[in-house]
Symmetry: C2
Subunit: 126 residues, 2 copies
């Protein structure tokens, strides 16, 4: 019986696996938040706005978001080539949820960090 119930639970929550494993990493969320709304940004701008991302990781993250249809990439035939990124409608629809997650984090992060540090002290004292 437990097995049946379990199968239902898994089916119900299954999409979270896809969504989180695809763009649930912190860089994807940060890049989406940084492009945001109606903005159009260039590769180097994104790199400046997220200073601790490497060019390689930024490039890979943008490619993956583009493949998923969350951002648009537009290349202008100039020398040097100009490349601009913007959110698609699908990408824009994800922003409010990321914002809620950010607000939750802002509200709860101190508590979480304090709890973790107390937990680690208690573990060390064992």
């Amino acid at each position: 019986m437990i097995r049946k119930e379990s199968t239902n639970s898994i089916v119900e929550i299954c999409p979270i696996r896809n969504v989180v494993s695809r763009f649930g990493d912190k860089w994807s969320l940060l890049v989406l938040l940084t492009i945001d709304g109606e903005k159009i940004v260039r590769f180097n701008e994104l790199g400046r706005m997220i200073p601790d991302i490497s060019t390689r990781v930024l490039s890979r993250t943008l490619k993956s978001l583009e493949a998923d249809g969350l951002i648009d990439r537009r290349v202008y035939a100039e020398v040097p080539p100009k490349v601009e990124y913007s959110l698609t409608e699908t990408g824009k629809s994800l922003i409010p949820i990321i914002m809620e997650l950010t607000e939750w984090a802002q509200k709860n992060m101190n508590r979480v960090l304090t709890h973790r540090s107390e937990y680690e002290s208690a573990q060390a004292a064992l």
Copy 2:
């Protein structure tokens, strides 16, 4: 000027890094969703409800969520020892946001997967 604006953006969105790098992995979210509401669940039950998680990863995920104060772990002095997990108030407050992410995924996943498969075909044809 861009630099100044960039710094502000980073400060504003900074907590997302902590929250996502700590429990933004798919297993943490799945474990939180599986424990859910007022439920109290045992280690083996969780293992059955998430059949593709290894014992080692489940154990590590639960420890990390406990350290962050998102779940409570209760050990009963029985033989064999009984261990039960439940959500803390902080943990419960995260559930609606995870549910929204899941709903977003259910609504958009087909579109995302189709877009990705078309993108990959187009890349392969280059």
